[in-house]
């Protein structure tokens, strides 16, 4: 069972939340490389820069995107719409990592075809949950 991924992109506007997620990811050896973007637009630019050429051969093209919903400039759902419409990184899997428990957000996330919906904070158990989701 694959438990370690080459690259993870954390998209979140909350620095403390990013700091915590990085720690948990490192502690669980979930990814060799961790990148961060502070909103959907930055994340989209990151993907364009790192995934467009020879996609999977580039280590910095994230296999997993941990995506927050509430962010300025471009929120998580707007990012998902743009991401789905583009062919920039078709192999990246998106896991929503948010503090929102609004059922409408969960519904919307499902509609946008995400791989999983996890509530913050990220913990060791939740990393295992994400690993299961990514395999299934």
């Amino acid at each position: 069972m694959k438990t370690t991924y080459s690259c993870v992109l954390i998209v979140d506007d909350d620095e403390t939340s990013i700091f915590l997620s990085e720690r948990i990811i490192a502690r669980n050896r979930f990814a060799y490389e961790i990148h961060t973007s502070f909103n959907g637009e930055e994340a989209m630019n990151f993907l364009k820069e790192n995934c467009e050429q020879l996609q999977s051969s580039i280590a910095s093209c994230p296999e997993v995107i941990l995506l927050d919903i509430n962010m300025p400039i471009m929120d998580g759902f707007e990012f998902m719409k743009e991401f789905n419409a583009s062919t920039v990184s078709p192999n990246s899997k998106v896991i929503i990592l948010t503090s929102s428990s609004n059922p409408r957000d969960v519904e919307m996330a499902k509609e946008l075809g995400i791989t999983g919906y996890i509530n913050k904070p990220l913990t060791d158990d939740k990393i295992r949950e994400i690993q299961d989701l990514l395999i299934n």
């Binding site: 909350d14 700091f19 509430n70 300025p72 503090s99 929102s100 428990s101 913050k120």
Partner: protein, 374 residues
């Protein structure tokens, strides 16, 4: 008196007069025309009270029941007078006839008085068409308040989720940070200072969110209690004075084009609206030019309503992209700016609750105009 006593004593005696047939020169046709007509009238007059009675006995909510009863007695008496008028052709009960006529006369006049007294109220009764119109109007009003309630319910839902999200975020962070701290202590390490700093920042954030939420609740609870004549420039000066530091920091110049200097509105409501629009002009000012905001009040010639405009030369908003997010709670469109993302949401609620509207016009990198129609 003697005549009256005699009248009642001999009430049913019929031998004082000849029967009508024998009195005068009745032909058969004339006599039977009279008799049959009288009996038919009497029968019809007898039927009407029964119909009326069956109506009022079935409909317990019949209005003016007393008038109905008077009609029943009145028409019944009329029926009896016509019946007796026919019977007199054979049995000349003229005393009974006189008494019956007298009773009918009395009942008739009671009915007249009752009618005169009741008629104005009868006219107040609604026709089915009027009732339907009233029902339609009430249904429309009910639908409107129903829609308003649904909207308020949706707003409340959004409020609860948005509030819980903004409270949960720093608390989730706290949970994670404390976890790290406990792990470090268990491993015998000295806790990192930046972890403690982040814990402190998260606590401040929780406090900030609670403060903002409390402000929103108190604004939404009784936003229109302090309605008074307000001087626009007074409120503006107050805001400038209270936010001197922020305005200086952004080097914002505020111009005034006050064409309507005073009007009646909630002072705290107006202040909150103007405060949010002016501080937004400062916070979202462009670094490329000297920040300016113009506060304008005037009367809309078409609607006669007061308009407040706050125009700035700031960053502008991409309305094609952000129009539907602009007035949502906790939404911030820029990430470099301080703020809870609650200002525009709460003033829009405030304005709309009083029947006004909040509009926005904007050009990216040229500026934004917020227009309040009160």
């Amino acid at each position: 008196m003697e005549q009256i006593l005699e009248f009642f004593r001999l009430l049913f005696q019929s031998d004082s007069w000849p029967a009508r047939w024998s009195c005068g020169n009745w032909t058969g046709f004339h006599g039977w025309l009279y008799i049959l007509s009288s009996f038919l009238i009497s029968a019809a007059y007898l039927a009407i009270p029964f119909i009326l009675y069956s109506y009022i006995s079935r409909r317990k909510d019949t209005p003016f029941v007393k008038v109905f009863w008077l009609f029943i007695i009145f028409i019944l008496s009329c029926s009896l007078t016509h019946l007796l008028d026919g019977v007199i052709f054979w049995i000349p009960l003229y005393r009974v006839n006189a008494l019956l006529l007298c009773c009918t006369a009395i009942v008739s006049w009671f009915t007249v008085f009752a009618l005169v007294r009741t008629l104005p109220q009868v006219f107040l009764l609604r026709t089915p068409a009027q009732s339907e119109q009233i029902i339609a109007e009430r249904t429309f009003e009910l639908n409107q308040s129903n829609q308003l309630l649904r909207k308020m319910n949706r707003d409340l839902d959004n409020y609860v989720y948005a509030a819980s999200h903004d409270l949960k975020s720093p608390i989730n962070n706290l949970e994670g940070l404390v976890g790290i701290l406990l792990d470090d202590i268990a491993d015998g390490k000295v806790p990192e200072k930046r972890i403690v700093d982040k814990i402190q920042q998260s606590v401040v954030r929780v406090q900030g969110t609670i403060k903002t939420l409390t402000e929103v609740i108190s604004l939404e609870k009784n936003p229109y209690e302090d309605v008074e004549m307000i001087l626009v420039s007074d409120v503006l000066n107050e805001i400038v004075f209270e936010n001197e530091e922020l305005i200086k920091r952004y080097n914002l110049t505020i111009k005034q084009e006050i064409h309507l200097s005073e009007f009646e509105y909630s002072r705290s409501g107006f202040k909150s609206i103007l405060y949010n629009l002016i501080t937004n002009s400062a916070k979202y000012s462009s670094p490329e030019r000297k920040p300016e905001a113009c506060v304008r009040t005037f009367i809309d010639k078409e609607t006669g309503k007061l308009i407040l405009e706050v125009e700035d030369n700031g960053l502008g908003i991409d309305l094609n992209r952000h129009q539907n997010k602009l007035f949502k709670m906790f939404k911030r469109l820029h990430d470099h700016v301080e703020g809870s993302g609650i200002g525009l949401y709460s003033i829009k609620q405030l304005i709309e609750r009083k029947g006004g509207t909040l509009e926005v016009e904007s050009q990216i990198n040229q500026g934004t105009t917020f227009r309040v129609r009160f």
